[in-house]
Symmetry: C2
Subunit: 344 residues, 2 copies
């Protein structure tokens, strides 16, 4: 049972392809600006650091955050190209968190290649992350002023806080939906919301526009993470490039499981808890866990929640009625649809 | 053969004690502001994160960087207390780099206690460092504006670049004095210089005053690191809390060794190089290496260079002739003297 707006996106794949095409063209511009930053830095920095940055930044990322900054600013009427420079800051911070997360999670690979940590070692991964963090802050401070920097720093400290919360939650198997919501806000929502909000500020948006774009970003970010967590259960490994069931194996409790625990009969609920208790048993019981989740429609309900989040996000864009920015609004709406329908 | 200014400081220990007393009182104020920051953050952050921050920030640090910010700003005529808030940013960034460095160096202890990394694990040390990094940037951006943030970010990226340079240098045993200077600027000089420069900017200093305080900071920072490196050879473990010879054992080539290599006869030079080549042999040959350095007065020459740096730093303060800030100038001069005479 999918909401009308989502069915529309699925039907209209021609439209979606057009949106994705527009985004790809813009993503290439972001890459150009990132390469220009590195070229500017090159004479002053160590060759190895430059190598790490090149490797870690140009590895097939879709540049979602910078694209959001660029489109949000244009939706608010901005036409200058410096917004790409500002957008790069979000990719730098995102990459910095990935460099550090791969150490924390001991991840071998990232988007099909060796992670920075595995390729260059822990020292390089920590330091290059710190470098990008500082570069991101400097960029945001320079281009979006005090207000933008404050939002950006709050997103960063919020992300760290979210990771600490996840560490704490890792020992608990009875998470509430609210716990989950807090966790995905920290993991994904805050930075995506900041990318939209700061883009709107940079674009000279009114308080109402800035608020609307933040709202859009919060919902988009949360939907993005819910879908990510669903793909861990249901994704096609040939498309996602990852095996299924990693979250369960690591004891990460995501939305489908939470929803199931909330509605399951006591016998199913204790069965799930007993599987979760024994770390070494979890992977083996993945098919059984999926069946129990199916029984209580946990996947469907999670999907519906992601769709509802996207609908709320798209609804926030309704205030942008100026025909001159119809293209930008359409692209942002299309991006929201893509978040729900994506298979990788 | 010590320069007059340094002999003066050594003779005048009463004066030095007065200076250190003034600094200690101010350091307590810095601690109060840091505790106020944590109290403000407490309701919004995870309890474990707060515990890590409390542990890592209040571990007996001398608050040299915030003190420099406070005194530099007052030397330029500032009288408001918000400068302590600004100063805290330098302690936050300093602590962030220590959290990360302890992982990189696999350090068990920090100032006689377990390092954050050893006490709370690698994940907490990476994340809490990232949190403090963002908090530092937000504070500097808010209180010292674009210009201050730019200097601060350049110091951070320069520190990372310096660490990459050290990684590269770790494979070379024929470092030049210039290589060493670049390394200690990255490791210590840049952040101390930024603490002084941003303090001066915040204090409303003229371009000339800002430049002079940066100059003072650069020299102070370099002298500080040279003395640190000398203590690794000559320090009293009962006072420093560290065993001697760690740098040699790790193959870190510091100033006394560089100066010796530059002037030694070929036979001594090749002997030093052959000791450095064999990692497992270095610690055993520490006494012999010290004797060769002594033979060529490598320690004395390094000390003289630190003294010369401090003298240059103090000389930069001569432009501050206003009797109203005589106390501040005296404290900064005294701090410079302390850097040279310190035994821990």
């Amino acid at each position: 049972m999918q909401p009308e707006s989502i069915r529309k996106y699925k039907r209209d794949m021609v439209h979606m392809e057009a949106v994705l095409g527009a985004l790809r063209a813009e993503a290439q511009k972001i890459d150009q600006y990132m390469r220009a930053d590195l070229a500017r830095l090159e004479p002053g920095i160590d060759a190895k650091l430059l190598e790490v940055l090149n490797y870690g930044l140009f590895n097939g990322g879709k540049r979602v955050r910078p694209l959001l900054t660029a489109f949000a600013s244009r939706l608010c009427g901005n036409t200058d190209e410096n917004v790409y420079k500002l957008g790069c800051a979000f990719e730098y911070l995102h990459a910095a968190t990935l460099f550090h997360d791969d150490i924390i999670d001991n991840s071998e690979t990232r988007r099909g290649n060796l992670s920075v940590f595995k390729k260059f070692g822990i020292t390089a991964a920590i330091l290059a992350g710190d470098f990008l963090h500082a570069l991101a802050m400097a960029t945001v401070g320079k281009l979006s002023g005090d207000k933008g920097l404050e939002i950006f720093c709050n997103a960063t400290t919020g992300m760290v806080d979210g990771e600490f919360m996840q560490l704490r939650n890792a020992e608990r198997h009875n998470l509430s939906e609210l716990d989950y919501h807090d966790a995905i806000m920290g993991k994904t929502g805050l930075l995506i919301a900041a990318a939209c909000e700061i883009g709107a500020l940079y674009g000279g948006g009114t308080a109402q526009s800035v608020k609307a774009l933040r709202e859009y970003g919060v919902h988009l970010g949360c939907a993005f993470q819910i879908v990510d967590d669903l793909l861990d259960y249901l994704g096609d490994p040939a498309k996602t490039g990852k095996t299924r069931g990693n979250d369960l194996a690591e004891g990460k409790i995501t939305l489908p499981l939470i929803l199931t625990m909330n509605t399951a009969e006591e016998s199913d609920r204790s069965r799930l808890l007993s599987i979760l208790e024994k770390k070494s048993e979890r992977a083996r019981h993945f098919p059984e866990v999926c069946m129990i989740i199916e029984k209580y429609q946990g996947f469907q309900t999670a999907k519906a929640k992601a769709s509802a989040a996207v609908e709320n996000g798209v609804r926030a864009l309704q205030i942008f009625t100026d025909p001159n920015v119809l293209h930008e609004r359409t692209v942002l709406e299309g991006l929201a649809g893509y978040v729900i329908t994506r298979e990788k």
